[in-house]
Symmetry: C2
Subunit: 554 residues, 2 copies
């Protein structure tokens, strides 16, 4: 703790330097240096962070490859203990982490406290997932020597980790989607070493979390190469990391341009690898007539919307950027309430001056679009880089004929689209390409709207990863059933989720053993089932402890 | 049946023309025509098949897209019935299919009968898989309104079909990996319409099977767009099909050049899509000392090896192309036996003159390689395109320093590599890149070899999809636990299998419903569980009929 405080506290004079953490050791970068910027002032803050050059990067990937040899054979309990220990080490450094993150990201303390808790919970979720072993997907078909026309061999399928994984943290989740975030937790849970490319917008936060992970790795006696945190110039070192032949998969959260650049690199390697990139989303919200038939419902909706829009300065992957509202007086009333709510809302410091600049340009383009009018605008924050939240409006025809109006503006800017028929509502839903979420608001007693919702949901489930009702898409519950994904371009690979237990499946592949002598079999596929896994035996899900007896018969 | 006999029987004069089957209707191609070649004579045979041009292709993909709207909502029973009906329609046309395939492929009757049975069994397997609904991967987390600090919403995850799938059949499996083969069966089982690009090497066989599928689709009252069979110029129409925005995934079995070309097209689309290409494999076999300590074991091994090598003229994805044999007298003895067996083996007609030519060139290059000697060679077959099976030999050092010696030669050509230490054996295993299978032969009572096998298996599971013991890799059992896959370049995507029940997972993606009103929910995720699915409820596998009670508690 003392070391962390000494080395990353705000207010140092900039002569001190911090370094990458490669397999448990600090490695001074030979590729220049960077410093964090306090977005509330625009001034540099904290120590210098030295940047690795391409040659130095290999020390991290080679260590990951070396570590994989043993780490891939970890027991569920060993992996579970490691993840739990990481959660504890992060919590122990919680105060430092939060104070550093507040300076580096401009995010408020309460938000960061929530995010730290989520990060630790997420690690504990994957500790539980790893311990259950369900992700090993064991399928056993015992030999049937008497089967005709050919005997059936003994077949035992399990899933194994892919190998070292490159993780790119997000600017907007300095904890939950960064150094020890969902990608790192799920990759480690799968048995994959991780090399994290530190985000240069929150280098000190990342370093504190990196120290926590390295401490847990050391304390658990795991090969130190299972975790490295590397600092480098964004595009350059990142591309090099994805091109490294020792890296077998990539987890990324960030911009579409960043994600697609990594996808191109991964696809053009001599051995292509999967990229799981979560990139962009406008998260359309559909307000059906019954949701706004009475004043109190309409008021709650307007308040909930502006809170969701403006939370974390709108810098959430799931922030509602597009809301479809019926024409007519009830819809007008809702828009008026939204105008009042947004006018009363204040701007908050955005994550970086660059993100703020892009948001301002995006709003300027939107405001200048033909047929788009301003509904309301709040006040700027007291700090630098704290633009006012804003809401605009247009009609469905204009919206559908102007593709740029569907583009994400990362920040608290929303476009209300007014529709006046079921046909327009369906056209709007059909216009959705690939989004993380879609939301439907209705009164559950209204049978006409229930029918509308069923039609919309059927269209939307083909276009998004999560459909929610009478709520707001921000705030992603991390559990067994969550999907944080969706078709391209929301993500690079709609077959996966980056949040929730199923995220572990991204880093596994199946292998089958045929007629293997018992001593050669690994624990997961032995008759004795020492890990007490739930397995499919002869196509029937068979719970641990039922000793070959199928649970369906129990 | 009569129509099929009239239109595709051998011996027609070539003036008659056959066409693509697009959504149940014959569509005459405007892009030229092709005819089958009887590889046993090199002469054209059967009717002309008209080829679609690019513009015509859209009629098939548009029909698939249209059909998807309803087909994706099929019940498990409807899909199961369709697959069963396809199996029955194929069996009803069995005689025609086999006689046509014999002429077009040169494969012997018994092999084709076995393949037809496998094709029907495969369809019935996926009928069972679809009916179980396990692939829907339902995970439910009921709301926890009292949870702190935040209530948990109601979350219901299911997997849904990706959309229309393009299938490219294999030259070497005119039935089991072609029009109604594993890719088609698993895609339909997932709820995806299929557009099959007919293989021009067996157009008549494909057409008969296509008629069977179309008949089943019609009889089951399914939208005819769920299945089309299109004829076209290989590379050109194939690339166009993969580039078509309505196509959402690709199944392919063929050459590495063909597979990687489709991967590049799929990755460069505005919306990239997954490609499941099964491409190439040399299927290394490791003979450990205890496998050849007595004469009868050695003799059985030599016989088994040459039978596996020469079956179907070596034109199997899993044919053993590389066999590691110890130096020393027992190894010499095995090689002598192999030499005798292969000398007694006869060549069989290969699938096409082009495949035969490539094989001959491959053998010539191998024979001319420095340090490679010929072990034995059989006799040529009586027909055209029936080269003699052949076995060559080299030592590990030469093998490891000459990358070309690891390349697949598609046909009955094998390279024996002699090793004389455990270090060399390990080096050979580490040299494996991505293969469908690896095989280990040993005597199960030999503890030293069991240890060697464990070391090898651990290295090989990272490099292949299936590891088998004391058998031969040809002959892939189609069931719940099989993996027919492996790291690149064996396949484009080592996370998947193209054979066995898990093949269905390639064509699905997850979506979650949050706080959805009950009337909006589809059957799979309703409380009542009308499809009697095994579901995960609160992270616990819960068998159908236990009504919310976890089976773990039962």
């Amino acid at each position: 703790m003392q070391k962390s405080e000494a080395s990353t506290g705000a207010g140092t004079d900039g002569n001190e330097a911090m370094h990458s953490i490669v397999a448990g050791l600090e490695l001074e970068g030979q590729g220049g240096a960077t410093r964090a910027v306090d977005p509330s002032t625009g001034a540099e803050t904290g120590p210098r962070f030295t940047l690795l050059n391409r040659e130095q990067l290999v020390s991290a990937t080679a260590a990951a490859e070396e570590a994989f040899t043993g780490f891939r054979k970890s027991t569920p309990e060993q992996i579970s203990n490691l993840l739990t220990a990481i959660a504890e080490e992060i919590e122990a450094r919680g105060e430092d982490i939060i104070s550093t993150a507040m300076v580096e990201t401009g995010l408020p303390e309460a938000r960061l406290q929530g995010e730290l808790a989520r990060t630790a919970n997420q690690l504990r979720l994957f500790a539980k997932v790893a311990l259950s072993g369900d992700h090993l997907g064991v399928r056993i078909e015992p030999a049937l020597p008497e089967r005709t026309p050919l005997p059936r061999p003994d077949l035992r399928q399990k899933r194994i980790p892919l190998g070292p994984v490159a993780v790119f943290g997000a600017s907007n989740f300095p904890l939950a989607f960064s150094v020890a975030g969902g990608d790192t937790a799920s990759a480690l849970a799968a048995g994959c070493p991780v090399v994290v490319k530190a985000h240069n917008a929150h280098p000190g936060t990342g370093h504190l979390v990196g120290e926590a992970v390295a401490a847990a790795v050391a304390a658990q006696g795991v090969h130190p190469g299972v975790f490295s945190l590397v600092y480098g110039r964004g595009a350059e070192l990142g591309q090099e990391l994805v091109a490294d032949p020792r890296i077998m998969a990539v987890g990324f959260t960030g911009s579409r341009s960043g994600g697609t650049a990594l996808m191109a690199t991964a696809a053009s390697r001599p051995v292509p690898i999967p990229v799981y990139a979560e990139m962009s989303s406008v998260n359309p919200v559909f307000v059906l007539p019954s949701a706004i038939t009475d004043d109190s419902a309409s008021d709650a909706l307007a308040k909930g919307f502006v809170t969701s829009l403006n939370g974390s300065a709108g810098q959430l992957c799931t922030a509602p950027g597009l809301i479809f509202v019926p024409t007519g007086s009830a819809g007008d009333e809702l828009v008026d309430r939204v105008a009042a709510e947004v006018a009363a809302a204040g701007g908050q410091t955005m994550l970086t001056p660059g993100i703020c600049e892009a948001r301002t340009q995006g709003e300027d383009r939107l405001a200048a679009s033909t047929g788009v009018t301003r509904v309301g605008r709040g006040t700027e924050g007291q700090t630098s880089n704290a633009p006012a939240p804003a809401v605009y409006s247009t009609d469905v025809d204009r919206f559908l004929s102007t593709p740029e109006l569907s583009e994400e503006i990362f920040g608290a800017v929303c476009l209300i689209v007014r529709h006046d028929s079921d046909e327009e509502l369906v056209s709007a839903a059909e216009n959705v390409v690939g989004e993380l979420t879609a939301t439907i608001h209705l009164h559950e007693d209204d049978s006409a709207d229930l029918e509308r919702a069923a039609v919309l949901a059927d269209l939307l489930e083909q276009r998004v990863g999560r459909i929610l009702f009478n709520g707001w898409p921000t705030g992603v519950d991390v559990g067994d059933a969550m999907v944080h994904g969706g078709p391209y371009p929301a993500t690079s690979d709609g077959r996966s989720t980056s949040v929730g237990a199923a995220a572990i499946e991204r880093f596994l592949r199946p292998v089958v053993f045929q007629n293997a002598p018992a001593p050669v079999l690994s624990a997961a596929i032995r008759d004795e089932n020492p890990w007490k896994l739930t397995r499919r035996i002869d196509s029937v899900v068979t719970l641990a402890g039922t000793a070959g007896e199928s649970a369906a018969d129990a």
